[in-house]
């Protein structure tokens, strides 16, 4: 059947996680290119309305495994259901979010299926692969593209022989794009008892404290980001004032987070979130490769830096040579006076 499968994560609020919807969008495109279907797998409890949530993203089929013991997530029951289903359906491409849950689940499942798994892909494409030694061409493989070695190289990984081809992708890397289609995804309820045994419930959750996501810089159209050059927590107020006025969110580099100027949730880059706003204003940011990995797809980049040699200047559309303490108030003032 060779279809594309997406593991859909359920949030605390009982909805499909953004990262899963992003993967459904990407999966839809891959499936179109491969001329196959895309199927979503949802495992949890109280899953009413899930079919409606997923259909706008072009999913053809939704498998639902519902049992009160399946939420919150624990490894073995989810892994048992997901791997058996993938095997039965002979899935060819499997996408999982690179979240706490996805990175716990995917390797376990890949080990059961004895297939390859590439973590944290930043891009997925379809392509062929030619092996000279045996003069064979593998058609329509999944190119799993990811940074490696602390972001110093970009590797394209393939799994020629042992399928399915599995990949995890971080939240925000792919775009969430509804398709124009009225059709509701076909719904298939799984008989949970056939897939899991009581012994799969050996790990007990005694207590949980999970916070809902507070800030959402990933979805912001405008980001005013600050680096170590901002100099203090207090100086970040300059960024907030501008961001509030122009309708943006505030982001930060790891150096700024490590220095305690900002909270980790706002960190952008390889070990933070990936963003692609229409405008990115980088204030006091040198532009290390790990930071650029999370923002270089922004439509326009303005850099404010005292150092005109900083690496960020290579990717910025506008380089303002100056101190952010002087520049940001000027930008704010002009905007307040001139916007309608």
């Amino acid at each position: 059947m060779k279809n594309v499968f997406v593991y859909c994560e359920i949030t605390e609020e009982g909805h499909i996680a953004d990262v899963s919807l992003e993967l459904c969008s990407k999966g839809r495109k891959l499936a179109d290119e491969l001329n196959v279907d895309i199927e979503a797998v949802v495992i949890g409890t109280k899953l009413k309305g899930i079919q409606e949530e997923l259909s706008p993203f072009g999913v053809d089929k939704v498998y639902i495994a519902e049992d009160k013991r399946l939420f919150p997530y624990t490894t073995l029951p989810h892994a048992a259901i997901f791997s058996k289903l993938l095997e039965e359906q002979q899935a060819d491409v499997v996408l999982v979010g690179a979240t706490s849950i996805g990175r716990d689940l995917a390797p376990r499942v890949a080990s059961t299926l004895r297939c390859g798994l590439t973590a944290d892909c930043t891009s997925l494409e379809i392509g062929d692969h030619y092996v000279k030694k045996t003069d064979t061409t593998y058609k329509n493989l999944l190119y799993q593209i990811r940074p490696a070695f602390g972001g110093n190289i970009v590797a394209t990984i393939i799994n020629p022989d042992m399928h399915p081809q599995m990949a995890t992708v971080r939240e925000g890397v792919m775009k969430k794009e509804p398709v124009r289609r009225k059709k509701l995804a076909e719904l298939i309820n799984i008989d949970v008892k056939k897939y899991v045994s009581d012994s799969d419930f050996v790990v007990n959750i005694i207590e949980r404290h999970i916070e809902a996501q507070k800030v959402n810089i990933k979805g912001a159209q405008i980001i005013v980001a600050g680096g170590y050059g901002v100099g203090s927590k207090k100086n970040f107020n300059l960024l907030y004032q501008l961001a509030d006025a122009i309708g943006g969110e505030v982001g930060a580099t790891r150096a700024a987070v490590d220095a305690g100027y900002e909270e980790h949730e706002r960190q952008i880059g390889q070990t933070g979130v990936t963003v692609r706003p229409k405008l990115y204003i980088a204030c006091g940011i040198s532009g290390a490769v790990q930071h650029r990995a999370g923002m270089d797809q922004s439509a326009q980049i303005i850099s404010i830096n005292t150092d005109l040699e900083a690496p960020i200047t290579n990717i910025a559309d506008y380089n303002i040579n100056g101190r952010l303490e002087d520049v940001l108030p000027k930008m704010l003032k002009y905007f307040k006076q001139n916007s309608k």
């Binding site: 490894t75 892994a79 706490s100 716990d104 995917a106 390797p107 376990r108 890949a110 080990s111 004895r114 297939c115 390859g116 798994l117 973590a119 944290d120 692969h129 799993q144 070695f149 602390g150 110093n152 190289i153 970009v154 590797a155 394209t156 990984i157 393939i158 799994n159 022989d161 050996v202 790990v203 007990n204 959750i205 005694i206 949980r208 999970i210 809902a212 405008i222 122009i246 229409k278 405008l279 650029r292 270089d296 303005i302 005109l308 290579n314 990717i315 910025a316 559309d317 506008y318 380089n319 303002i320 040579n321 100056g322 101190r323 520049v327 000027k330 930008m331 002009y334 905007f335 001139n338």
Partner: protein, 290 residues
Amino acid sequence: MSFRIIVLAKQVPDTRNVGKDAMKSDGTVNRAALPAIFNPEDLNALEFALRVKDSRDDAEVIILTMGPPRAAEIIRESLYRGADKGYLITDRKFAGSDTLATSYAISLAVKKLAPFNLIISGRQAIDGDTAQVGPQAAEKIGIPQITYAEEFLGFNGDKIKVKRRLERGVELVESACPVLLTVHSSAADCRVRNAKRMMKYKHAKTDIELQELSEDYMELLETRPYLKINQWSVDDLGADVSFLGLSGSPTKVKKIESVVFTQKESKSLSDSDRDINGLMKTLINSHVLG
């Protein structure tokens, strides 16, 4: 019967200091060109194991690593910090193994060390950042897993209690043993080397290392058997070679590119009112702002 804890630790190239010759033409890592260090989260894993050991009087901590002969360094390092024994899995036939093949070899070694009660690994290694070997080894050994362990909270009868660190919170979980834990970087830092243990173990060697040493060493070893670091090959593990190395690894590297950022066409501006106001005007007129 002792309570056996096996810690999985890896020697990794220090990816914070990567040079041009770090990758070989076949797409694998040229480890010789990089300084080798104890994978940071594996030190957290070792500390976790030592804390479990400290909490009871029947526990032993065994360190298990797979890598080239010089990976024996991290076994010695672990002995200095409190581990009781070490095993090095080394064989040319392992070269090129991806996480699936690695976890297969590790699972065989772990099974050879049965009976065991806890397997503790780091969450991820900084060379690949995959975080896959822990869960894959757990699956191959056939035991449950608890990922992202942050704190050891004690035992409840036979069950171990652990605090997990998740993206947006924490979870307290409990599991029967044996179970595999992967330890998060937010867990306690590893204790430092103990001077007495350094004296005791600085001559600990693997067979390969012994080949280069004098007869006197052999005598030393006879009187102090604890100085021998055990070494296992593919044959010792009874491994099926088709599951190992490049042939046993489903993932292949098709292409490697170093990251070079091409210069964009960009405008340089000063911090004068004129330049800033001009920029803001452009942004407002093109509806990027406002």
